[in-house]
Symmetry: C2
Subunit: 495 residues, 2 copies
């Protein structure tokens, strides 16, 4: 390989190592760290983030890119090297705009904000969280100032998670979704799901969840599953994937929570070896990544074919379900019913929770709401969107982790993930005509391998729109398949 490419790869590998090391510290913080380790951990994460940023934004990277670009221009657009140089150039130009000290401050305050939020949510005390939120929002405004934007000051934040996406594009998708979803929610019949609440021992939940994950296509000894307060997935290579979940002793949500995180995990696990330790080691966007967690959680994990195979094993683990028919179970796990908590929301109401947050976030960034009014505004909109009364802030504005760590601009990617998951699912259906039979037989590998070979292996080589175009033939984010899917679901509930 030419020297400039070798040097570029070595520099990028170092930055990647620092970021993955920070990932290990973050996993540890959320899964194993003693609570009093918080302050030191915040300093450590701040230092790692600052050094990684310094090394990546160094002028030397620009010089290496200048020398590497002519070496790759004759290669195919999606070759490893040409993709590396193109994506690194884009990331580097963007990262150079943010001063190292601002980035370090954001990392430090994110850790502090997270710590404060844990306690504030526990006591439902928004006032104690307010100063941390204020600090994080102010840092985000300073961050926005580092960029030019045409449509909305929210766009630079969105771009961190959904590269190339404009706020107005999201608004257009959500403008279609909101009325359609409201109509679907109103049309959905009440469904008895009382048997999904009961006595479900955590140890049995863990055993069942691990049993399912083992069939999803992971290599042995390349993943683990741990309990945590707020489930997430992270990875430190494509062979060290960390799933987390939450076992509540009175429901079975861990089944879908685990399949959700395992969907993220399969993405990380499927990235081609040649892309490791580089900016291509990842997914094109959070929306694309989320489309896959949603695929495994919902399109697989709530489908009748899947449960044709898995319902008997589930009943083995949980005798209380032995008197419940498969039809009744499948209907219950597909019900549509407004609720308080985003992470507990069903597929039909879920995106309404997101649209509420998306609107609030734009106002936060624009400064058109006072932060102390947030709980009141939140509660009023929950009433308007979902007809729900919020009893306290722990079940309202404090329910989500994201804002505590400065993660503004992140929420819309969840709803985009829902939409994209159906666009890709249509492609999967075309490629795997026997999919339902395979799911009924408990064989998840054809699906897992197709997604790995056609999507996960690509890493960040292509932009989100290029990725969607490669799989679906069009770069447009189209809510029609998602709404059709939900329409069928709600119709089936009424039969």
């Amino acid at each position: 390989m030419e020297q400039a490419l070798l040097d570029l790869r070595a520099r990028l590998a170092e930055v990647s190592d620092l970021s993955r090391a920070a990932g290990v510290l973050g996993w540890d913080q959320r899964v194993t760290m003693p609570p009093r380790g918080t302050e030191a951990r915040a300093e450590q994460l701040s230092t790692l983030g600052r050094i990684a940023h310094e090394r990546f934004t160094d002028a030397e990277v620009g010089r290496l890119l200048d020398r590497a670009e002519p070496l790759v221009e004759s290669q195919p657009y999606d070759s490893d090297d040409r993709s590396l140089v193109r994506v690194t150039r884009r990331d580097w130009e963007k990262a150079r705009r943010v001063p190292t000290e601002l980035r370090a401050e954001m990392t430090l305050q994110a850790a502090r904000g997270h710590h404060a939020w844990v306690e504030a949510r526990r006591t439902s005390d928004f006032a104690s969280f307010l100063p941390y939120l204020r600090t994080n929002v102010e840092l985000k405004r300073r961050y926005v100032e580092c960029f030019e934007w045409s449509d909305s000051p929210y766009t630079p934040l969105l771009d961190d998670y959904e590269p190339g996406m404009l706020t107005t594009e999201v608004q257009e998708v959500f403008a279609v979704l909101r009325p359609a979803l409201t109509e679907l929610v109103a049309a959905a019949p009440e469904v008895d799901a009382s048997f999904l609440h009961g006595d479900f021992p955590a140890e049995e939940q863990r055993a069942f969840a691990e049993r399912v994950v083992r069939t999803m296509g992971f290599d042995d000894d390349a993943w683990r599953l741990d309990p945590t307060a707020h489930p997430f997935c992270t990875s430190f290579s494509n062979r060290d994937v960390r799933l987390t979940t939450r076992y509540r002793p009175d429901d079975l949500e861990s089944v879908w929570s685990t399949m959700h995180e395992a969907g993220h995990g399969l993405y990380a696990h499927g990235i081609a070896d040649a892309l490791l330790r580089s900016p291509l080691h990842g997914a094109p966007s959070l929306g694309i990544n989320e489309s896959q967690s949603r695929t495994w959680e919902n399109l697989v994990g709530r489908s009748r074919p899947f449960w044709e195979h898995w319902y008997a094993p589930l009943q083995e683990h949980f005798p209380a379900l032995r008197g419940v028919e498969l039809d009744t179970f499948v209907r219950a796990i597909n019900r549509a019913e407004p609720g308080l908590i985003r992470v507990d929301a069903d597929e039909t109401t879920y995106s309404l929770h997101i649209i509420l947050r998306f609107e609030l976030e734009q106002e936060l960034v624009a400064g058109t709401v006072a932060l102390e009014d947030l709980p009141e505004i939140w509660n009023a909109r929950m009433k308007e969107f979902l007809g729900i009364d919020v009893p306290d802030n722990a079940h309202g504005v404090l329910q989500d982790v994201h804002w505590s760590g400065g993660g503004i601009g992140y929420f819309p990617t969840y709803a985009l993930g829902n939409v994209i998951s159906l666009q890709i699912w249509d492609a999967v259906r075309g490629a795997l005509p026997d999919l339902d039979d395979q799911l009924e037989g408990g064989d998840l590998l054809p699906l897992s391998e197709w997604l790995r070979d056609n999507l996960y292996a690509l890493g960040r080589k292509l932009t989100p729109k290029e990725t969607i175009e490669r799989l679906t033939g069009s770069p447009v984010i189209d809510p029609a398949p998602y709404l059709a899917y939900l329409g069928d679901k709600v119709a089936a509930l009424a039969t």
Copy 2:
């Protein structure tokens, strides 16, 4: 504070953060990481080690030291700032001698060697480990060449763990120990300890171990205890202490293994806040640190006063012991009996295992043995020192983790720790005349707090010899109290 000191502290804090981050990665690797994460983890650790070394050995640190030294020279010798500047100068001069690339290569090969050793020990296959050992020994020889030494090429390696100690000084201590210990082992009567082997459920062992640790003087929420294959202790601040232990279902060794690691943990926990994120954040040497793990494991954990309180709780957890008298139990846990495995060795035979390794290591470094002959030499000396036949390499030359990671020069610190523990224990006895009563009452706090205030809080402010002098009145490492203690122990076995 003067600017040069502030700048120096900021730079040192950054280096400390990188080292602690590497510590988190190391803990994760040994406690939680999926096996296939190994290769990526080695790269990450190599990168962190290299950057920390680069930042610490930078010429700028020397300039900051030059400017800081005049600012602190009028302060007391052991003030925080003067100690910081003095110790940093010494560390910096030493670290500057080692090229960054050599250090990175050592880190990388240590991780690979560790991985190979795990498999080699499992299969008792020395040949498969040999190339990794050879690489690590050769790297150590290159490392030694970075230093001047007067007595032995082993001294620069020893100095990493026991700063300021000469190989000849260790030889002198061991020359007294070896014949005295051989004599004691020969004089020790056989003691029935058969009841210490049996059915001891791991979950009960964990419960008992945690119960003891909770009385040792840790703040709540500042430590955790996890199972691992090869117990160790690490910490990422004085409020994030990680103990590990091993529960074997057929013996109770986890009791003392856990108290041993908790002794290290108390040291880390007791370091003064003002010394965090600096080179003073640590113990003066591994020997001094080990003196405290040995204090808690042996001087406390095998003493009759301790078990006057704890034997009844132990019997609650393990009904099989209910028919065993306290006297019989205490005698069994203090028996002297040659065995194959260092980490299972009793107090009387333990240091003989170390002296064997110390002699071999000097020969490895000098190149006076062929590496492929190591198993044979090991086995012959085990016969000579302890009268034991070694059945296979897993129970012989492959038993210890240290050489796999390039940790040559480390072993003697264990025996020095034994010796020093008794020197400090004499000081403890003088300061706490009611210690036995306190132990009998289950009150470990007076001991824990005295050691914290008089030793642990000092961190690395003083050299090992200065530290010993401060506690005992003399800087000399004196084996007499240790031999007297063992003499009393062996005599008590015969009564």
